[in-house]
Each structure stands twice: as structure tokens, then as C-alpha cells.
Assembly symmetry: C2
Homo-oligomer: 461 residues x 2
Amino acid sequence: MSPPLARLHQTLPQLVLRTDEDSLRHYGQDWTRYYPPAPLAIAMPATVAEVQGIVRWAREHKVALVPSGGRTGLSGGAVAANGELVVSFERMNRIGSFDRIARTVQCEPGVVTAALQQYAADKGLCYPVDFASSGSSQIGGNIATNAGGIKVIRYGMTREWVAGLTVVTGAGELLELNRGLAKNNTGYDFRHLFIGSEGTLGFVVGATMRLTLPPAPQAVLLLALPALADVMRVFEVFREGITLSAFEFFSDQALGHVLARGHLPPPFEARAPFYVLLELDDPAHAGDATALKLFERCLEQGWVLDGVMSLSLQHARELWAYRESISESITPYTPYKNDIAVNISRVPAFIASLDALLAANYPDFEVIWYGHIGDGNLHINVLKPSALPLEAFRDACEQVNEQVFALVRDFGGSMSAEHGVGLLKRDYLSVSRSEQEIALMRSLKSAFDPDGIMNPGKLLV
Amino acid sequence: MSPPLARLHQTLPQLVLRTDEDSLRHYGQDWTRYYPPAPLAIAMPATVAEVQGIVRWAREHKVALVPSGGRTGLSGGAVAANGELVVSFERMNRIGSFDRIARTVQCEPGVVTAALQQYAADKGLCYPVDFASSGSSQIGGNIATNAGGIKVIRYGMTREWVAGLTVVTGAGELLELNRGLAKNNTGYDFRHLFIGSEGTLGFVVGATMRLTLPPAPQAVLLLALPALADVMRVFEVFREGITLSAFEFFSDQALGHVLARGHLPPPFEARAPFYVLLELDDPAHAGDATALKLFERCLEQGWVLDGVMSLSLQHARELWAYRESISESITPYTPYKNDIAVNISRVPAFIASLDALLAANYPDFEVIWYGHIGDGNLHINVLKPSALPLEAFRDACEQVNEQVFALVRDFGGSMSAEHGVGLLKRDYLSVSRSEQEIALMRSLKSAFDPDGIMNPGKLLV
């Protein structure tokens, strides 16, 4: 045990510390696999006091700290590759006092998203932020990355569901932010500053999360489209006529990979270049007839080739499965992931430019399009040809990346819609933020983290 | 014209400047009437470049700047009592490009709230943030104060409706914050930092505002209650059974003042100590029968004495009028206003303590209770006895204020739920924010406003 670590153990004898190889590897990385893990050790605090003790120790010994939740991030925000102390919150995973009137519940940061969802369901309520990694991701990490997911169009990002935050800053100070109040206009709202700050200002050590009534079972439509450009035409027709809780799209290549797994039958007799999945936000099903009319209008215009509407909850789940299985079905191809967003109304023009750019630059690679297009968010996955070595593939993708980001910049878009910046996109931050903004971000970080011990090198260089 | 002012005129010859007595008085104060206006002059920029020019000039000449919208604030945030240059945005009042797909519209800061509401209505949409001052308040001021209002329980505060912000910082830098994107996880969200910052970090010079589909006409219930403690019991019953878009309460004294104006008939045959107005969020009116059942349950429990449900849109508007007329009906009594909030579930205990405190301290004053109790927000208005001089009344109220705020602190509440801090509550900021938070607020202010020219003395001492 290194002298600083021995000192930490001496100061906080109850603190669980791990230094075995397996733990260092396991806790030193997230779902990115680009950075070899090399942490100093793993600390597993059980109390807020221990977290504060760790911060005091880190300031004294100039040791960098990496907050660690479920490590399901895709941008390297929770990677410890430079001798940092990883602070895992998995022992702080209690769901605390539930408030039925306010519809809030207190969570420790290590509560797994699915555990909160289940807790809410047991109370007859719902925690509606949902994504593929719900079974592993933790609330603290969701907050630190402002996690999004498949129902953002209806329920927003994690940000909307945080009524209060308890944080330990990089200076070791304990702050109670907003205290769970619905209304509180008393100066700068630091709660929103910490949400999405990727652990660079301090640790989330507690959160008051909002819950809501569970949605009634919703009708789902799956539509087959002749062209990418029609996706937004269809969106416009439905958006004007009815309230939507989801509007997802995917390409026929994406569907091909899903069908190849053999779990689902083809949704239509004939294949089509693109598909749209939309879910109505219509508790009383008063809009089902309207939805059919809107569908017919799209059909008449030639923007839709075929379509199916769910007839039961089970049927709706089956239709969702086409969209939800994509990510897993392409994982074996080591996809190079892009997570970009532009303003919704600029999506058609952006897609046209991006399509041309990718076609010109990836003649030999398979490009899989899908995404939460109802909020302007596209996931573009480039699949590695099996014969190509990983490194050559990555190099090729990174070159194209520069061009994709130049296009994002031209369209005033975001180079990270929901995955965050972390290590992976840190050098591209200027695509979405101005020089002045980045300088101000540095100033703010200094105010909360004067010694620069909080997740250094993530988000900001 | 003072030498600095002459220099401003020389630098920006097109900039409209006013120094006449009427303008100084008119633009130097808000709806608080405690601070004698004494601005240096009124500047009325027409462009962002002029705003930046004003900031450069102010930094050079060490002149304080006060942003000025509709000046409908109740905390003195827009008061200029110390030789500041008032920067009025009334010439920057254009509604710019509308985006039907994204459902957003660009606004200059001087757009009047009601003008945006009307614009949205003309497009078949709705800007749902609404309050008594909508006819005068401006979007820039709404954002700077994170204005709330009567539909917060359903639509949230102004914060929820700001998709993007353009600001000029106290350093004169122009920042484009979030660019109207629905999803953008690229570091600290300065947009949320500026919302509610009361002009202490910089000027809002443009905003991309979200619009939504207009709500279907909603059923409204007005209920008569035997006791204050029953208000939250009724809330709990309805909150669990049905979705609400408003839950307001008021005391019989409040109703008395409304009825005394002679515009409205008594709502019930017999008077009751308290009333609750609730609006259903139920587009298809599928819940009307449920609402009646919930009403009957409250009646059986003795928590409700009588009730009426709206039978038409016109009837619903008439029921709303009882609640909406309160503020105006008590204005002649120079009310001393408290705008406090606690966590919703703590409202009953808080009300009991507060009721006892006020009864003990205001034996001779009439205390009018009302508020958006569905989000924990109480407005307590103390009316001045006509014989008592204004100053003696104010002194008496300020003494009680200390005790009210001590109670708010004990309950972990907010000493300004929606009115903001400004000058009026600046010295009480520590009721709701810790010493460390206030120190961090100062650091952040320095980063955005290095010379301290932005609305100095407001929010922070």
C-alpha cells in the first residue's frame, strides 16, 4: 500500500479500500474500451462523512478522484487511467424516505436506475427516465451525465427529475441544493450546474428524485418509409395532429441486424429503406382514430409505404422490440458510435449532408442509422468489417469524425446529445461550446474544485 | 449630461438615452415602492451590439447597470436607486423566427409575456407560463427571475420553457447558451445558471422559448373547507386519484375582499373558513366522474363542506375569477407580502406553526392567506389598518418577518418561492442558502461579471 493510501486507511479505518488486480480493472473503466484502466485503488464509502474525508485526504495528498457509478458511460467519464482513486458509490445504495404527497423519494447515489423504477412501481408511481443500461447505471451517474434515453420527447432528461441534490464539492464542502422544493427562487441554481457536470465539480452524495403517475398503456405505430427525408415529414404530420411520447427511427440495415438474431418476425411483408416507431401520449385512447387518419394522410402523400398499429399492450411491446434490440444486435461489430443532435427542424437538411458525407467517406463500412429523432438526436454506428484490424478501423473513423463534427458545428448542433463529453470527446468540446464558454467553465470548476482533484482531464483538458 | 454619459452618447450615437425626470422615476423602480428611484439615465438599446457597447462603457467608467424589463417585480430587482444606468429592453421587443417542428420561437428580451402568449395562440399553440402581470412583464425579466405563476403544478416555472439563451455577460462577452437544442450534454449548462440570476451575471439579449399544444378546456372545482388543515387532506385525495393542473387555496377573508368589489356573486350559500380551487388535467374529460367521487369522499370525511364543478368553459373562468381577483382586491390595503414555500408534504405542519405565529404577532392586522399550495407556495398578505402610518406598519411587519423566516429555515423552506431576492430579501438570503453557497455565488458572479457592474447590490450584498 502506497504511503498516501496507508494514510487514507489510517484516517478512515472503516472505509472499504480495494487494490486487487480484478477490482482495479473492473472499477477503472466504463463501457468505452479505449483506455487501459490504471487506478491507484478503489474506495467504497458508506457515508457522506467518508466521502468528505476522502476529499480532504485527496486535497492534502494531491490525488485525483474519479466518481464511479454503474460505469455504463460511453465517453470515458468514469475511466481511471492515471493513478486516480476511484470512489465507487455501490455501498451507498439505499432508497430513503418516500414522500407520497410531493411524489419524491430520496436516493443515495449508488441506487441502480432499475431499482428506483421498481421502487416507484411498487408505490403505484413511475420513474420515467429509461435507457438500455437501466439495470446497471446508478442515479448518481445519471445525474452527473444528465442521462437521456427513449422517452425524452415526453419526459425530458434526468435533469427534469431532480428536485434536490446533496453534493460534496472538490473543496470538501457539503451543499444541500434546492432541498427538494418545487419553487425556490433564491439565486443561482447550483443543482442545475451539477447536473451534467460529469463529476468535475464534486460528488453527488444524495438526490431527491421526482416520481410521476405511470402512463396508461399507449398505442404504438410502426411505419415503413421509402426515404430518409420522409422521416421528418411524417414527424411533422403526427406532431401537429396528436401528442407523441416517442418518435424513433431506424434504417433497414438496423432492422436487418435485429432480424438476423432470429427472435422477431419481419414486421412487414416487404422491406423498406427506413422505419419509424411512434408512441401516442393519449391516456384515454381518444386519439387512436386521429392517428389512423394521420397515417392515411402520410400514405396518400407517399411518405409511408406500410404501417401497423398496436392492438394490445403485448403487441406494443413487440413493436418496441424492433427498436430496442438494435444496439445489442450490432455490438458484435465493434461499432464506432456517434451521438449527435441538431435542432429538430434542421434534421432533414443535416441528414442529407451527413448521408452524403458518410457515403463518400465510408464506402467500405456499414453505417447504421437510428435514434431519438423526435428530439433531434441521431445515433450513427459505423460497423467494423471483420477483416479490418481494430486500430485501423478506429483511425479511419476518427478521421471521418472530424468531418462529422465540422458539419455539426455548421448546423449549430451538439457533438454529444446524451453520452456526455468525458475523455472521448473532450478534445472536440469547442464544436459545441465557444472559447469564452470553455474559459468560464474552467473558472467555475476552480471555484468548486480549487485543487483540481475532481475527475481531472474529463470534460475539460 | 455627465461626462461618462456624454462619452456613452459619443461612442454609441444611435443609442436612445433618456434623462428626463419622468423617465428616471418611471424606469428607476419596480412594483415595490420602498426605494426612491435615482438612476443616472435610461438607455434603450435596439441591438445586441449596443448592449455590448454599453457593457464596455460601463466597465471603463465603473458605472453600475440595472437590466429593466416590465418592472413588475416584487423584490426590487429592477430598482435603480444609486446612480445606475438603467438598460431598458423595451425597444428589443421583436418576436423572431418561429419553428413549427421544434415548437420554439425566438424572442428579444423586451417581448411582453402576453404578446408571446398571443403569438403562440395565433399559431395554434400555447405559451403556458401565466401570471397576473403578463400584460406588462417581459420575457427577459421572466427569465432573469424564473417567473412562476398559476400553472406551475402542471407546466413548471419559466425555466422549463427556455430552450436557448443569448446573453451578454458582465465582461461584455456574447454567449449562445444551448442554441435551442433539445439534447446537448456538453458540459456545464450556463443557461440554467442565468435563469433566475436576477441580472447579476449579464443581460439576456435573446431567448428561444418553447411552446406547447394548448390544453383542452379543463374542468374546475371550487370547494369550501371547514379548516386550513383540511386543505392538504383534500390535495392528497385528489392528487392520488387524478392528474391536476392547478391546486390553489384562499381564506374566507380573501374571498370577502373579492366579493366586496361587487363583481362576483358568492360562490356558495354559506361562507366557509377556506376554499380550494382545483383544475383537472384531463383532456378527454374521462376523469370528471372520478373527480366527483373524490369530492364525495372528502365530503364524507368532513374535509369539504360544499363544492361546485364547472359545467362550461365560461363557468370554469368564473370560478377562476374568485382566485385571480384576490391580489387586486387587497392592493388598496398596502399589503405586506410574503412569498414562501416549503416542501409540499410539510405544508400542514408549517401552516399550523405559521398560523399560530401570525395570530400571536398580528393581533390587530388582517392576514390574508392564499397561494399555489399544490406546489408548496404560500402568499401571506398582511393588510395595513387604515389608521396606522405606513412606516409604523412596515416596521411591525419586518419584525414579524424575522420570525417567519426563522420558521421557514426550520422547515427547510424557501424565503422566496417565486418573487426572487432582489434588494428586498437580499439580507435574508442565508435563510435559504448556506454560507458556503453564498460564497460560491460570489465566485461565480466574479467569473461572469469581473468588475461587478451587473445589478450590484441585488441578490448578493
